[in-house]
Subunit: 222 residues, 2 copies
């Protein structure tokens, strides 16, 4: 077990529930949108309505991290954006390694949603020698044996893993050996890695299953 | 308001929470994996441990949909897989339209996780005339004006929207006009559509933010 000194974990084993952290991202997106639309303040009621949560849920989620509202005003959008980005760690820029420069990997290099939130893919890696030395949208492709050197050079802590399922575990172990601390896994396999490496697995079929459930059961948005 | 006759909504306005439906997909994946590994039965404790939930959470989630366990046995994996697929609606094959055949769209055409769960992209659409008439991995690309005809021909109810943000609202309205009932939205914008059309928006930066939160706060998997 590694030491637990995060401000939101504290001295006990208490952790903020994963679902709350996910919702922080949703609050952040709505606040950024409100700001773009010229709103300076908002309320738990408005934020909740935009996202389909109760106002009590919004207040309870934010209360894990501090006191952000002002009596008679509500939340100041800009201030809450800054606070949430600090909590999520995206008040700093994150250089990211992309491992596996196939179709999906190349699409992710061009995915604008990452850049909008401060993530910058700075290097791609691929086992295919014919890709090594080329670049995609300005991102150079390296051989996997250069991983450790590039990770150190750019101070990379996060990787996006978009290799085929058969290669995923082996490549993930190389990522860990190179010192990476977080892996966004698009390969359709479960990775077995040391406990201090955080893995988030993306399974896009889950999202489609939410749609089929809604269509079969004729649910509505909202 | 459209009529609500889904078996899991009933006569009142009661709905199964979205988070429970998401977890059904996770249970399904673990059960499919257990089956592949030769396990015939499992328990709420084992399922919970695999996913990091309590056994009580697993039992409560499944209880929304019926009684699936056997005293002294637990859950029969194959039977529970069948039941969950029926609940999610994936006991039938779903033909899917992919709209926007750029890098991301083409990566999604090749994404094997969809096929594994019964989703089959049968047609792609793009505004770029130079792509129309070609195909990607055997999937033909049509002009957007052919949408309604193709949707009818294949009985398509779901679409994956992978067009640029600036085009997303207009194209989404065309999807609705063509009779589609569910949209998986990869464009980084909020779509405003009729209530009876279900939208699930994919924001991959949210997943990266879960990683940065964990890395900044030194959380562990588990």
């Amino acid at each position: 077990m590694s030491p637990s000194r995060g401000p939101f974990r504290g001295s006990s084993d208490y952790q903020v529930p994963q679902a709350v952290v996910s919702r922080l991202s949703l609050y952040l997106r709505e606040l950024q949108r409100l700001l773009r639309d010229g709103h300076e303040t908002t309320s738990s009621t408005q934020l909740g309505r935009l996202l389909g949560f109760t106002d009590a849920q919004v207040r309870k989620d934010l209360a894990y991290f501090g006191q952000f509202g002002y009596p008679g005003i509500g939340y100041r959008c800009g201030e809450l954006v800054t606070a949430i980005k600090r909590i999520l760690g995206t008040d700093q820029a994150w250089p990211v390694a992309l491992v596996g420069a196939g179709n999906l990997g190349r699409a992710l290099i061009g995915y604008r949603g990452f850049q909008q939130q401060g993530f910058r893919i700075v290097a791609a890696f691929d086992a295919d020698a014919s890709k090594v030395g080329s670049d995609f949208e300005g991102i150079p492709v390296y051989g996997i044996e250069e991983l450790a050197a590039i990770v150190t050079r750019f101070g990379i802590r996060l990787a996006i893993l978009s290799v085929p399922g058969t290669a995923a575990q082996e490549v993930a172990e190389q990522l860990v050996a190179a010192g990476l601390k977080g892996i966004l896994n698009f390969a359709p396999v479960t990775l077995n890695l040391p406990e201090d490496v955080r893995i988030v697995s993306v399974d896009l079929a889950i999202e489609l299953e939410q749609l089929t459930f809604a269509v079969v059961n004729r649910l509505e948005n909202g």
